[in-house]
């Protein structure tokens, strides 16, 4: 049985420093870390391809040669490059680690400001399309919206790569997002290389490669960073709407179950011209069933006037009473803005938890008598036992909607912040220019 060659130890043609090739047979370009020279790994003489100048040396966060467990497989970091895009004359740099497994091939880890992505080349071909007026791609049933397109240059490189390149070379990169995933296209003259990235918290990279200390914190919001509320919003809405549905069902049952029995009704007239005691008591009526509410409804014929009605609901046996009152006022007219009205002619009082028994009402009407004119009102008093009373349900229902609305607003804020970094949001661009 033969052994597949993997590791080769060599010396740099340029400076003589020792070199290791970890993916023998695949590697076409290897970089001397000491003199920053790209060497042709296929050439037995290891000929020099390029010596590049770096503005500054970059230390990879994952040391080359380090192995880590990611997505159920072991990957060895064998190459590292820093790539740069320039947007509105601001340069943005990100790092790419080339990972290798002799059986499973190559993967990538990208890192920008503490945000990581685990990237694999695509086996299927994304279809270009548009979504909400934006360029997009469809890949395996999911739509990815174009986030940014730019020319990306390699500005620093270490380790080894299974392709030939030079530092300074540029490819046209487009990123399409459907958080937590992103599809990227790297376009060159001869090929479009598609890849799929999945957002990875820095802590997972740290754990996978057993890196010392804590991972640098992620700054800002990254293009395909999953919204902390995105998946939540849906489940919070589901739970809350289910509870609202339950409330509605309970409300319905209570309404159907209410007796809504009319126990008393009578009409009266009051006038400020009347002398003496204005209060009176109604005939006795019976309130049946379990303790429940009593509705006292008053209808008047007020015209640009008000009346105050004091009530006491009195239990005939115990003499115990419930006091309540209502001011009813109705005004209307026509002015330069047209016709107007204020208040209303009727009102109602709901007395909660009245035990069953024989009751009567004491009524005391009152009206304005300070202008020296006579005021009068005709009014009807209607008493109903056990009416549907729903404000609790409405309040509970509204309170239930608070968490999902809050989560959705926060998720929307996150998406807004995300897309502000996109090269396709023109208004945010002009905002930034104004600053």
């Amino acid at each position: 049985m033969s052994t597949a060659p993997q590791v080769r130890s060599l010396n740099c043609t340029n400076c003589g420093a020792p070199l290791t090739i970890r993916a023998g047979g695949h590697t076409l370009t290897v970089v001397c870390e000491r003199c920053l020279t790209l060497l042709d790994a296929r050439d037995p003489a290891l000929s020099v391809l390029q010596t590049f100048q770096a503005r500054q040396r970059v230390q990879p966060l994952i040391p080359l040669g380090r192995r880590g467990e990611l997505r159920g497989s072991t990957w060895e970091a064998i190459g590292f490059q820093v790539r740069e895009i320039v947007v509105e004359s601001v340069a943005y740099n990100w790092s790419e680690y080339l990972l290798y497994n002799p059986f499973k091939g190559f993967r990538y880890l990208t890192e920008y400001d503490g945000h990581w992505n685990f990237v694999a080349t695509l086996r299927a071909l994304p279809e270009e399309t548009t979504a909400r007026g934006r360029q997009a791609v469809r890949y395996l049933g999911q739509t990815y919206a174009c986030f940014q397109s730019a020319s990306a240059r390699t500005i620093f490189v270490l380790g080894e790569f299974p392709w030939q390149f030079r530092v300074g070379e540029a490819v046209y990169v487009s990123d399409y997002i459907a958080p937590p995933r992103a599809v990227s296209a790297e376009r060159t003259q001869n090929e479009v290389a598609w890849s799929l990235g999945e957002y990875l918290p820095g802590g997972e990279v740290w754990k996978a490669f057993k890196l010392p200390g804590a991972c640098p914190p992620a700054r800002g919001i990254y293009s395909n960073q999953p919204s902390p509320d995105g998946p939540n919003a849906r489940s919070v809405w589901t739970v809350c709407l289910a509870l609202v549905g339950l409330l509605a069902a309970m409300m319905f049952l209570f309404s159907v179950g209410a007796r809504q029995e009319e126990v008393f009704q009578s009409s009266y007239t009051f006038s400020t011209a009347m002398k003496g005691e204005t209060s009176f008591v109604t005939p006795v009526f019976e309130l049946k069933g379990r303790p429940s509410n009593v509705e006292v409804k008053v209808d008047t014929d007020l015209e640009n006037d008000w009346a105050y009605l004091s009530f006491t609901l009195i239990n005939e046996q115990s003499g115990e009473g419930f006091d309540f009152g209502r001011e009813i006022g109705y005004y209307h007219g026509v002015d330069t803005d047209g016709s107007w009205s204020e208040g209303g002619r009727d009102d109602r009082v709901l007395v909660p938890s009245v035990p069953p028994g024989r009751y009567y009402l004491r009524v005391e009407p009152d009206m304005n008598d300070e202008d020296g004119k006579a005021h009068s009102v005709r009014y009807q008093v209607k008493v109903r036992r056990d009416v549907p009373y729903n404000p609790f349900f409405w309040i509970a229902g509204l309170l239930l909607l608070v968490p999902p609305i809050f989560v959705s607003l926060r998720a929307a804020g996150f998406e807004k912040a995300r897309w502000q970094e996109s090269s396709f949001v023109s208004d945010s661009k002009s905002d930034r220019e104004d600053e």
Binding site: Q6, P102, F103, K104, T121, L125, P162, Q164, V192
Partner: protein
Amino acid sequence: MSQPVANCPNCGAAVRFRFSSAVQSVCEYCRSIVVRRDVNLERVGEVSDLPPDPSPIQITTEGIYRNRPFVVAGRILYEYEQGGWNEWHIVFSDGKSGWLSDAMAEYAVTFGVVPTPEPLPPAEKIHRGRRFRWYGADYQVTLLTPARYRGVEGELPFEYWNKQQVLFADLRTSDARFGTIDYSERPALLFLGESVEFEALRLKNLRRVEGWDA
């Protein structure tokens, strides 16, 4: 499975054809390429030393594709500007031949399609982005690779030796189907299949890779 044995016309060593579909084999001793002509073996060439190869696959590797077991019987090695890749000739238990391509540990299983669903465009007319609709799928030419035949090993289902430049057109679909138009012959050959994950093939009897577990 019959295993006809004949002697190498060059060195006299036994040359075994383990697969009835095999037409060509390589003498393991003198590296002569021998082909079956009626009942005789004919030496048609010699394999030069193959370069060190990082593929974990070797002749006799076994695997499973769509619940059908196969064994690796031979291979063709190609070289192109950005490296090399293997087309492993795989033979299923029913004797049917297929190809397992291994390009930088990206795997695809394909089968020769004869006759082709339509006459294929000649090499000078093929270009990236060209689309074909075959068997309910939209194939798109994603890559043209001018390659060089580098060598063969083991048993192959057709004569394949001493080729020079070969043009390949890779085809992909939105649902991970994969195809190749092989311009080494006229008319061109068509292979269709799909990309597969390493794990899905459940390969056994792989080469050992120092420092790594499969």
